[in-house]
Symmetry: C2
Subunit: 484 residues, 2 copies
Amino acid sequence: MVLRVFNTMSGQLEDFKPIHDKHVGLYVCGPTVYDWAHLGHARTYIAFDVIVRWLEFKEYSVFYVQNITDVGHLTTDTAEDKIVKRAIERKVEPMQLVEFYMREYFKDLDALGVKRPDISPRATGHLLEMIESIQELIQKGIAYEVDGNVFFDVSKLDDYGKLSKIKLDEMLEGSRFEVHKDKRNARDFALWKRATSETVLKWWSPWGTGFPGWHIECAIMGLKYLGSQFDIHGGARDLIFPHHENEIAQSEALTGKKPFVQYWLHTGFLKINGEKMAKSLGNYITVREALKKYSAEAIRLFVMSTHYRSEIDFTDERLKGAETSLARLYNALESLEDAQTVSVHREPNEAETKLGESVENLREQFVNAMDDDFNTPQALAALFDMSKAINRFLDEQKQVSTTLLEKVYDSFSGLGKALGIFQQEKTKAVGEKLVDDLVKLLFDLRTELREKKEYGLSDEIRARMKQFGLVIEDTAEGPKWKLA
Amino acid sequence: MVLRVFNTMSGQLEDFKPIHDKHVGLYVCGPTVYDWAHLGHARTYIAFDVIVRWLEFKEYSVFYVQNITDVGHLTTDTAEDKIVKRAIERKVEPMQLVEFYMREYFKDLDALGVKRPDISPRATGHLLEMIESIQELIQKGIAYEVDGNVFFDVSKLDDYGKLSKIKLDEMLEGSRFEVHKDKRNARDFALWKRATSETVLKWWSPWGTGFPGWHIECAIMGLKYLGSQFDIHGGARDLIFPHHENEIAQSEALTGKKPFVQYWLHTGFLKINGEKMAKSLGNYITVREALKKYSAEAIRLFVMSTHYRSEIDFTDERLKGAETSLARLYNALESLEDAQTVSVHREPNEAETKLGESVENLREQFVNAMDDDFNTPQALAALFDMSKAINRFLDEQKQVSTTLLEKVYDSFSGLGKALGIFQQEKTKAVGEKLVDDLVKLLFDLRTELREKKEYGLSDEIRARMKQFGLVIEDTAEGPKWKLA
């Protein structure tokens, strides 16, 4: 079955065909790094991580760009730079704040098992490219400068609004436009903003000192690393308008090529106990806090239990449920591993053949679900059915055919890994207890070897342990060791 | 005692007085991220980490900037951009290569226990600032443009060469200058280089597309985040000329303020078994490889066993020695911890008072050594003497005064922590390496027992290891273990 994805642009499921054969160019809007990553970020980036992993499962090679916004993202109410505002509150350098939260963002996402993008470009690293592009837009007559501010003239496009489907009159009625006396039209948006004496992050430009608008940043970084047309652009649903709408406007005006992006994918909102997550509501949960209570893979399982486009509701109960479900999947995996140690080389018997068929069917269900716009809830249902079939089977069987077991194990663990689970290392911290146990074993062996008069081997044990830096003392309670 | 530092500029030890009271501005030249961090990096950044920690121990607040060079650092032989060259070899995007090695660099340095800088600015994030400054230098008549290249006119300065003490005639005799037909003088250096059709990383500028020279990058990032004059600039010794010399020339010409930097600190070279480390010599060791063989704190101890300005020679023997020395320090720490559990609340007796005095004296020796240009070998000697005194004392005493123990523990652990050791979790100190060794020994025994047909014993080994929770996998490189 061919992979189908829901394209926000067409409002429909479409067959997925990348521009360049098996290569997929993917851009996902990254965080503005002025605070801790929260569950909303986790939801979005886990969803796209699952998408990346599924594309890779389908043998696409994915080139994944996700930006870091470190300037120009303004607060909606007071139009202040989010980073500068926080830096002033904390009395630190804005770039020190950026450095800190960028680092912690990656730590959190690493902890969640989200693969790193191939490039994480920073907005401040692309100012020259932005300025150059803004100049080009002015030359083309699509942008205009007034008194150090540069605006994009939306009236020059006949297809503005095509992504968000917002009609012009509706747009004007809303209050979603920044008011500015120099704008020709209310819906025009800023490409470059003039700095005032109070602006902290500002740069030299052909229009005087200033800073870039937020929308031009992603457009430019997308174009730079993925080309004038690429396959997938993703982000949370609230970015559709105006952010992504404006990215399209700028990019297509710059390159003259349409469409800028083939498939627009958007993730649904996250709620906490049925409410919008907000600091003011006191239900704001950071990834760091969530990871103290729940395992990374349980959080991932929770995210995947809802389709990426749907609204998802975070409750303690659901997370605890995810933890239990995860343990169930791991149990099946471990049962398979245990069964392998006592498996036998022979042709599968009837019961085994039946299990093999059942697993194969469920595997197909899983693949079909994922190919249907990454339908993780349905894919998970197939995976749970598989775990049940495995457990039921292993409860009844004593010795299983190695070939069958390997096949079942590969299917089951392979699908889990495709979703980014079954990644947990079982290694806990290596403790002194383990060394105690090993030393005790070696001493027992030494005693037995001496009894058997195998003095060569028994001497070797003590000599080599000494090499490791272990000093052994024989005490009343048995041998004790310490480091030399 | 006041802290004294050796200033490369004066060639002398100087009293350390920051510009702003207890605030220290520190810039250290960071890596060009086109390959794995190697032991040379480890040496430099551990050395500066120790310096930062000592300044903090002395209650300075350190603002530490260390750049990431992601463009403009050319190979000495063929004058190619190091990053672009490698990216072409690997068939990846230059910024993808940068992203990868930058991430791995921080991973390695984190693993070595090196604290992160407050800001890690990237050269590509400061191109506008560089262009603006180059324009300013042209306007001041200190730089000139020829055919899309901009050079710094060294003849305009009367104090060029003051850091490296290289005399003009000597300079011209050497071959350390890039030859360029458009240069007025051989020793002039490029601020901006014109792009050719083959240049991969290039940007728009007032002089046409091109890219910045390496020396302007650090000058601009230092000025931007630390101001026109700051306290300490550090780096490896080989950066004195031309890199740091040119940083001074550019910065002082731009700001008109002298000195750009108060104290120039440089680390000595690292050799491997007495030879220069080089890929061609086959003795090139990455941090990642070193960390497989040695613990992070042993590597740190090894680096600190030589003064930061001196040449250091890496040999397996010295690293093994460092591992043993580290274990000795941890043993003393653990003995103190053990003694605390059976300590009694009473006034210190004579022997205890004597130990207290001895520890206090050694503490003073340690502090004096560190205040004397961060003399870590001498400071370590005091720390080892302290560990010996502690062990000797605890061997003789049964029950010790709680007050005395707490004081001794605070001194000993506090000084270790000031050097960045005693950070290991106790379980880690035991080390996976030790478990590796023990498992390897057990497996060798098992093989030998099988050869001797002692199947009872060989089976016992596997069975009991399983009881401990060890799962053994036979791999091509020998048995590997993990915890179940």
